[in-house]
């Protein structure tokens, strides 16, 4: 067999078939895994919240300072969160068009990731209302804000 004959025969190995359900399967599996990951994070947060020393938790409501966030630290955290929110709001406006018309699977995946992040942020906000001075909750919140910021920046940079 000559190299040319081999090349011609090789091209015949290309095989295509219709898979109308494949994207739906991928999306459904992705959602399942995202929820499973969120559940693990939530369980870890709850476990950590339970492990926080009780006396510190009791001191938190009167804002008298202590091992959680002092008044000054809390003010700094609140200011940092406001700065994140301003930045995210600005980035969201810039990314809005691309996300609304997301056609490519990668852009659609980023839109879905942002949705998951929003849901996680909403859950943590509720947690923050219950544990206003918890450094852990605010740390988690900052991480989620950073992820959202990075994801929005990625969306703005790519087509």
């Amino acid at each position: 067999m000559t190299p040319e004959e081999l090349d011609l025969l090789a091209k015949d190995l290309h095989h295509e078939w219709e898979s109308p359900d494949l994207w739906r399967r991928i999306e459904s599996r992705r959602r399942q895994r995202a929820w499973a990951a969120a559940a693990v994070i939530l369980a870890a947060c709850l476990a950590l919240a339970l492990l926080l020393p009780r006396p510190a938790a009791q001191r938190a409501p009167d804002r008298a300072g202590g091992p959680l966030l002092s008044d000054d630290a809390f003010a700094e955290v609140a200011a940092a969160e406001k700065a994140y929110l301003r930045s995210i709001e600005r980035l969201s406006r810039a990314a809005e068009g691309k996300l609304r018309g997301a056609k490519s699977p990668v852009m659609a995946a980023h839109a879905a990731k942002l949705q998951v992040l929003d849901e996680a942020i909403a859950e943590l906000r509720e947690e923050a209302e219950r544990n206003t001075f918890s450094a852990h909750v605010h740390g988690q919140m900052a991480q989620l804000y950073r992820q959202k910021q990075e994801t929005l920046e990625w969306v703005i940079r790519h087509d």
Binding site: H14, I26, R33, P105, A109
Partner: protein
């Protein structure tokens, strides 16, 4: 993508599973994508890794795809598939990407994390081995 996976794994169902897994893995590690290659090259690299892992997991050569022998060309295709199943996994991958799917050596080098020169030599070696096997029949 499905065609690459099909030729590496030997069945449409396995190929679709591999494509699904590759997209999920790519999505999970999107943050690690630094733009050193194109996004499609990167997703293909993930797919090839999934297929190679699956091949290792099975700890056997990919099954030659059963093809009804309706004409002499079908016979030849079946022989080529058997010959491909018998060569080294990396040679098989480079041959499938270059000769079957038509990717350039630049693209293959990105997908398999090898140099373009290496991709060329691997392809030549794969061709030589396949020719030997097909001529010996």
């Amino acid at each position: 993508m499905k065609s690459v996976a099909y030729n590496l794994l030997g069945s449409q169902a396995d190929a679709e599973d591999a494509v699904q897994e590759a997209f999920l893995k790519a999505h999970r590690s999107l943050a690690a994508f630094r733009g050193g290659s194109t996004l499609s090259t990167w997703v293909y690299r993930t797919l090839l890794n999934v297929c190679l892992d699956e091949g290792r997991r099975r700890a056997r050569r990919p099954e030659a795809v059963a093809e009804p022998a309706v004409d002499s060309k079908a016979d030849l295709r079946a022989e080529l598939r058997r010959a491909l199943a018998a060569i080294d996994a990396r040679q098989r991958a480079v041959f499938l990407l270059a000769a079957v799917e038509g990717f350039t050596h630049a693209e293959i080098s990105g997908m398999l994390a090898i140099s373009e020169a290496n991709s060329r030599t691997i392809l030549l070696e794969a061709r030589r081995k396949l020719q030997e096997r097909l001529t010996a029949k």
